[in-house]
């Protein structure tokens, strides 16, 4: 072993907090802790920011996925004999992804442009203009590091390839071509009912009984036809599970939560002047978000070291309490607190289990969604699914593809104007919740087969050349795809503080809730981004001072 990378030593060697992994929750915590005047060391074994929330070039994505699909790292060289005060607990990773399936139908073309791609590892994901993540970005001033663009539209798809526009606002209902006049009237009146409810208008209050009842029952009670119900449940409230099949979805969305979703959606529309719809996407991809918080943290004095794996944790020999980490470079760094990316696993000395005080010392995070897995797919095409549109969301409600489909499938098309791919190309992110990989992949494939022409695998080089952007059927031709299944929970409770992993939601709200909770547990005395510093708002926007994100039109 003579090609040891030249790791520079880190100085100082003691911090209030060490964070390992630069995923979104870790980055937010690093920024929040730095803002609360903690000294923070933020480490990442990868050479890029974002961990499982990153946006990667085309060539790097497969290797990143596969590196997290097996447990490669052999227990480190660390042995417990070097210290008398501490014992070493080996740190290893556990697999997050499985059933990785990468297909390339046009290798030459893509190789040429590999670096021009920024592919989201945790896609599809968007922001609602009024959601918690946007609030957080604005409150923390992270908005100065990001630029956004509005998602043009939301559609509901079916198994014939039709994309129905989702009338999600007053203007959209007015403009919609597929709704009948009566349907327009019913839908708008329902929206107004919800708005009136929140505005506290007496005569339109939704009763407590209704609020506690399943949302789907309330929609039925309001006389909304199936088409509109489906729009509201799956394309506006973004429900994952079939609401009309209690067998699948044990706990149905309540009216209370349903109308909160509607209110969020409604508040999102028109919040920013240049945003036409409710949804936003960051230029250069979702990985920008983690990076923005890291920059925020760095401004507040957080120390960043990338490409720095950690091999072991140092714990007090007597108490079993955490003391610090040992880096690959061999350096030991000490801190009060530790936050780990959820894929890290601490290998306890064989045969032993953490002593009770250990468990008590380290609060753990329990993910909300304890359901199995999410299958994600990334497709690259040279033509848009909708000829006159670049960036949009498509929702396939339960049972819209085939009767056994019990979860929504979501698809997000992003075009080169968001700097995620070379000009003229389009990236599709698809995801579906599932119990096992095969079931999930079947859902993703169903969508791909409906919308795309999937060429035969190019084993022989003969037919590789004669490919057009779309076939006669008008479907875009698939150039490249990656399908992989991601664990939503590792099913194991650890004694270390682990951040949540990417969830199955479309936005970051649940993750941010969990992150705030985690911060409160490690720093119960400190405020999570206190609302003061005027310097946060020094952004160069032309807006009216507070609360604007940079939007490109």
């Amino acid at each position: 072993m003579d090609d040891i990378p030249p790791y520079p030593p880190i100085d100082p060697t003691t911090f209030d907090l060490i964070v390992i992994g630069t995923g979104l929750p870790e980055s937010i915590i690093a920024a929040a802790a730095s803002t609360a005047s903690k000294s923070v060391l933020h480490l990442d074994p990868n050479p890029f920011y974002g961990s499982h929330f990153s946006s990667l070039p085309l060539a790097d994505l497969p290797s990143f996925l596969s590196s997290h699909s097996t447990s490669p790292s052999p227990p480190g060289s660390a042995s417990s004999d070097e210290h008398h005060d501490f014992s070493l607990l080996d740190l290893s990773t556990r697999p997050l992804y499985s059933s990785i399936d990468i297909s390339s139908f046009s290798p030459d073309l893509l190789d040429q442009y590999s670096r021009k791609f920024n592919l989201d590892v945790a896609g599809p994901r968007v922001f609602f203009c009024a959601d918690k993540s946007i609030e957080l970005i604005l409150n923390t001033g992270a908005n100065q590091y990001m630029e956004f663009k509005s998602i043009d539209a939301t559609f509901v798809g079916d198994n014939k390839g039709n994309l129905l526009n989702v009338p999600d606002s007053r203007a959209a209902i007015f403009k919609d071509k597929s709704l009948g006049l009566m349907e327009k009237n019913l839908l708008m009146r329902f929206f107004k009912l919800v708005q009136g409810h929140f505005a506290g208008e007496q005569d339109v209050k939704i009763s407590d009984e209704d609020l506690q009842s399943p949302f789907v029952d309330f929609l039925n009670k309001m006389g909304l036809p199936p088409k509109i119900k489906s729009f509201i449940l799956y394309a506006i409230a973004m429900e994952d599970y079939d609401q009309e099949d209690t067998g699948v979805c044990g706990d149905l969305l309540k009216t209370k939560d349903g109308i909160n979703q509607l209110a969020l959606y409604n508040a999102s529309i028109g919040r920013f002047q240049n945003a036409s719809g409710a949804l936003l996407y960051p230029i250069y991809g979702q990985g920008e978000l983690s990076q923005a918080f890291c920059r925020r943290a760095a401004v507040k004095g957080c120390t960043y070291v990338l490409r720095m794996p950690v091999t072991a944790l140092l714990v007090d020999k007597d108490t079993g309490c955490y003391k610090g980490v040992r880096l690959t470079s061999g350096q030991d760094i000490f801190s009060q607190k530790l936050i780990l990316d959820p894929t890290f696993k601490v290998t306890l000395p064989s045969g032993s289990s953490p002593s009770p005080p250990l468990q008590a010392k380290f609060p753990f995070f329990s993910p909300k969604d304890d359901r199995g897995k999410i299958v994600r797919g990334i497709c690259i095409t040279k033509a848009s699914l909708k000829p006159d549109m670049s960036n949009f969301l498509v929702v396939y409600p339960p049972r819209s593809m085939f009767p056994e489909q019990v979860t929504s499938i979501r698809l997000l098309q992003i075009a080169s104007n968001l700097a995620v791919c070379p000009p003229g190309m389009f990236v599709l992110y698809i995801s579906a919740l599932c119990n096992d990989d095969d079931q999930g992949k079947k859902l993703i494939h169903a969508v791909m087969n409906t919308l795309l022409t999937v060429p035969p695998p190019i084993n022989s080089e003969s037919n590789a050349s004669a490919q057009s952007e779309t076939t006669e059927s008008g479907k875009p031709t698939l150039l490249w795809s990656a399908l992989y299944s991601q664990e939503l929970t590792l099913g194991q409770v650890d004694f270390i503080c682990s951040t949540p992993m990417p969830d199955g939601k479309l936005n970051y709200d649940d993750l941010i809730d969990a992150t705030v909770k985690l911060f409160k547990e490690i720093y119960p005395e400190d405020e999570f981004f206190p609302q003061t510093s005027s310097e946060n708002h020094e952004h160069d926007g032309d807006g009216d001072g507070d609360g604007d994100v940079s939007l490109e039109t």
Binding site: R170, A171, I173, F174, K175, D176, L181, M182, K184, N185, L186, M188, R189, K192, Q273
Partner: protein
């Protein structure tokens, strides 16, 4: 801008505005002194700019700047470059004023003025407008200015229509945008631009478009306004038409100079008692027209020369336009039977107020029979001594089929000519609308929806049975208005009026229904034959009246025991000789103005109204004041008649009654009618024989 509650000013705001006012006052004083001494130096002009920046509403400052610009431009050393910089300066000042208040009339006007000086970089103007319209897409100043700029730069209506449509798609709650759309469409239709050849091509699509707005949000008014415009476009015929005449085409008119001849089989509907030696010819158009004269209307008969016929507009305002025109034909004493032929509109000078030509020339003719004079003056006064008591009337029973020619009903020869102009698309469009709004109302209770349905149904009936006057849906419409009166008490009076009008239309729509209201005055002296019919529309709680085109023949009309506040339009009933308006809600003498045009009126009952109850006459503005020229001169001429009367207190009475030739007046039960007032009336009207039933000397 919109929907933002006004906040009470904080103390520091008030302090700030006081400071601002002080500064403004100082500036203003300085400015006025420069303005008055006509000083236009750089500094003084700069001062006005400063003033306008603080207060864009300062008209004087804008005008000063206009004078200053004129001054500069008239200097001998003024070249195009300096002129440009002067005008550029103006645009800049306007822009900063608009930034301060983009609803400043003065600023927008000044900008127009600058542009009209020939200085324009129009693209810049449109960019500026885009900015203002983005800030407030309903700002009607910006929309106005946009029309001005679009016209100036000859921007095509289609481009503007596209822009307007985009604005509507952004937010359809935008009166200005819908209004602009209606303006542009009208222009395109008038030009017959490609794709806009006729209403038939354009309006159905517009209906579809507006339905999207109305159904999406029935609570938003802007859509309904546009719908009303569409409805108006659908039902109005651009070209004026002759709707009705008296005498009707093909009728036989019997003229008697006395009442009691028991001659002939003439219908009481066409027997006219006349004491003036002439009878009126009435032309009733579908809209106000001008240009009716002996050259546009040609009368042919043996006893009167066409040139002698003087056509007068029947309108309360003294304009030369009116929906109803009248001429008085002197009837011959020598000739017993004669036929009259009248041709309307063979020369093209009759035009509507909108400028459309009367283009459906039509002819009608009738026969006149004259009953020789056998004057017995005492009898005349008895005949006119009508008492409006229930027991004095009996239902008119038609003698036989041929003797019920209720005038105006069957004179269709006039209208048959243009039957072809009413086309199918209109009835189809209306039928579709009716269906559409029935559906909306089945979903939700919606006041404006009900009102619209009522209007649509009436329009549909009028459109689909234009010549039969059938009102298939009148019951439903009346029900809708009844509903609305309950649902929307704030607008009760409007609904009540509409209800009355529909009710009247319904009653006059067919011979059968009208006959139910036809009575004969019981008079022991003579037989029924040849005696005029009394139309009794009493006790119907009418608040307004209309449908005069079907009532031109009426000589005796009972409108008592209704809720009338106005008798607007009654002037069309030129044959009226006896009229009861007793027990209504007339509030002033000026409300009686239409009566001044009724030259045949002899008996009038206005007892038990509210004349004089209200010290402030809200209708007075409709009536010329004693201080205006026309009335003032009349007063002077007639001074001798009314000496000793404190005219200033009774000018309304004088104005109202002096030209009426009443024999009998009932005015009891009005606050105004005290003894003094009555004595004034007697002096004003020497012809009066009975006042409140009392025989006068």
């Amino acid at each position: 801008m919109h929907g933002r509650p006004r906040k009470a000013p904080k103390p520091e705001d008030e302090a700030a505005s006081t400071a601002k006012a002080q500064k403004l006052r100082a500036l203003q004083t300085q400015f006025f002194s420069f303005h008055h001494s006509k000083i236009y130096t750089k500094e003084t002009v700069e001062l006005s700019a400063k003033l306008l920046e603080i207060n864009p509403e300062s008209y004087t400052a804008w005008n000063y700047r206009k004078l200053a610009v004129e001054h500069y431009l008239s200097q001998p050393d003024c070249n195009p470059d300096t002129a440009k910089s002067v005008l550029d300066d103006e645009l800049r000042v306007v822009e900063s004023a608009l930034r301060q208040n983009f609803k400043s009339y003065g600023a927008w006007h000044h900008r127009k003025w600058v542009l009209s000086k020939g200085h324009s970089s129009i693209d810049h103007e449109l960019r500026l407008l885009d900015k203002f319209q983005k800030a407030d897409f309903r700002n009607f100043h910006a929309w106005n200015y946009r029309r001005f700029v679009a016209e100036l730069m000859n921007r095509s209506e289609k481009d503007e229509l596209k822009y307007t449509e985009d604005m509507i798609y952004t937010n359809f709650s935008n009166y200005s945008a819908w209004h602009n759309r209606s303006v542009l469409l009208s222009a395109l239709l008038e030009k017959k631009a490609e794709g806009f050849l006729s209403k038939e091509n354009v309006l159905p699509e517009e209906y579809d478009f507006i339905h999207q707005a109305i159904f999406t949000d029935p609570d938003d008014q802007s859509g309904w306004f546009y719908h009303l415009w569409l409805l108006d476009q659908t039902v109005t015929t651009d070209h004026p038409l002759l709707v009705s005449t008296w005498p009707a085409h093909g009728s036989d008119v019997l003229l008697v100079e006395d009442r009691c001849q028991n001659s002939s089989s003439f219908s009481p509907f066409t027997t006219l008692l006349s004491d003036s030696g002439s009878f009126p010819i009435v032309l009733y158009f579908n809209q106000p027209v001008e240009g009716v004269s002996s050259s546009t209307v040609v009368m042919e008969c043996r006893f009167n020369k066409n040139e002698d016929l003087l056509w007068e507009p029947l309108s309360v305002s003294n304009l030369q336009t009116a929906q109803v025109w009248v001429a008085h034909l002197k009837f011959p004493t020598s000739e017993l039977d004669s036929s009259v032929k009248i041709s309307v509109g063979y020369t093209k000078e009759i035009i509507s107020t909108r400028g459309s030509l009367y283009s459906h020339p039509s002819t009608f003719s009738f026969k006149v029979h004259v009953q020789p004079v056998e004057r017995d003056s005492s009898q005349v006064s008895v005949a006119e001594n009508i008492l409006w008591r229930e027991e004095n009337f009996k239902v008119y029973r038609a003698q036989s089929e041929e003797s019920i020619p209720i005038a105006s009903f069957d004179h269709l020869s006039i209208r048959n000519d243009h039957e072809s102009t009413a086309s199918n698309w209109q009835t189809e469009a209306l039928a579709k609308e009716v269906e559409c709004f029935r559906e909306l109302l089945s979903l939700m209770d919606c006041k404006i929806g009900k009102l619209t349905l009522a209007r649509l149904l009436m329009a549909y009936d009028a459109m689909s049975f234009p010549f039969a006057n059938k009102l298939v849906h009148s019951e439903e419409v009346l029900e809708l208005y009844n509903d609305l009166m309950k649902l929307d008490p704030t607008h009760h009076r409007y609904y009540k009026d509409e209800h009355s009008l529909v009710l009247l239309q319904k009653m006059t729509s067919s011979k059968e229904s009208l006959l139910q209201h036809c009575f004969q005055y019981k008079d022991s002296v003579s037989s029924a034959i040849g005696k005029p019919i009394c139309l009794r529309l009493n006790n119907l709680s009418l608040s307004r009246i209309r449908a005069f085109e079907r009532l031109l023949w009426v000589q005796i009309l009972d409108l008592s025991h209704n809720e009338l506040e106005s008798i607007e339009g009654l002037e069309a009933m030129q044959l009226l000789s006896r009229l009861s308006l007793g027990n209504n809600k007339l509030r002033s003498l000026t409300a009686l103005e239409p009566l001044r045009k009724l030259k045949s009126l002899r008996v009038l009952d206005i007892s038990y109204n509210q004349i004089g109850d209200h010290s402030i006459d809200t209708t007075r503005y409709l009536c010329s004041s004693p201080l205006s020229h026309s009335v003032g001169s009349e007063l002077n001429n007639d001074e001798s008649v009314i000496n000793n009367v404190a005219l200033i207190n009774y000018w309304e009475a004088f104005y109202m009654f002096k030209d009426l030739n009443l024999n009998r007046l009932d005015i009891v039960g009005n606050t105004i009618a005290d003894e003094k007032f009555k004595s004034v009336l007697v002096r004003i009207m020497p012809s009066l024989k009975r006042l409140d039933g009392e025989l006068l000397d």
